[in-house]
Symmetry: C2
Subunit: 144 residues, 2 copies
Amino acid sequence: MISQKARYALRALLLLAARGDSNPVQISEIAEQEKIPRKFLEAILLELKKTGIVRSHRGRQGGYSLGKPAKDISFADVLRVTDGPLALSPCVSVIAYRKCDDCFEESICAIRKALLAARDATAQILESRNLAQAAAQLRRSGAL
Amino acid sequence: MISQKARYALRALLLLAARGDSNPVQISEIAEQEKIPRKFLEAILLELKKTGIVRSHRGRQGGYSLGKPAKDISFADVLRVTDGPLALSPCVSVIAYRKCDDCFEESICAIRKALLAARDATAQILESRNLAQAAAQLRRSGAL
DNA sequence: CCAAATCTCTATCAAGTCAATAGGAATTAG
DNA sequence: CTAATTCCTATTGACTTGATAGAGATTTGG
């Protein structure tokens, strides 16, 4: 299951993507619109900023905007920031590979083979879904 | 990421599948072979038993054996017992569906659409991988 | 029969994670 | 300068995870 943090992040980003324009949106506005606890959202956006997914502007008239085109921000990108690797085991993670603590021979591990296939399938989907698509779909549904 | 419990469960089951015969194997033997904390393994096997994945025999000469043919026990079956639903959100879970707390309209939720596709991809893989395959693969690798 | 071996059950624990909150420091527009 | 805003660090309570302890129930070999 994804964390609450991930949900909030996706909702906030979807809002930014939906706006389209590059005017920064303030934390409090996002928090209110999306019913996200304000302080928690602050922390989330800060993390998203460190990875370049969003950009911030401080001071009066400050706020957040997407750090790159919405089509270049995938669901996988976001989930990796909020929830860590997509992989079901460190030994099949691309971004955070680590040998399992008590693995005796990785190359023949039957568990690993299944988890690797699962990771590839998940990553294939989540890397192909991006914020631009999602926002467009919302527009089509009349939600915006 | 899967839990430690899931790893232990898979390893224990793989051992049972590898044995092939239906003679029960004792907890302490599994624990020793697979280097799993004995008391923890006890609890895990008990859970697996409740769902029919393993069968137990008490008293002297007791122990555990698979509750059904190895080919009928998928990785998905095991992970669902130890770690809960495969889905990334309750709203896309087949075995534990629940509406998201603050979802305003599920049918048009863009996040849900992506998570649903991810769930289907993961489930497709993990339901197709079973203990018999995994044990056979270990045999081919010369690990048994 | 009975005693040893085994699974079954309930309770407990420490450490870690998650979701949320608090308060002030730094920055910028006007 | 001052008000509005993001940035940063710390803290909290509830829950989960991984592991352990000990007594209860059941079966079987001798």
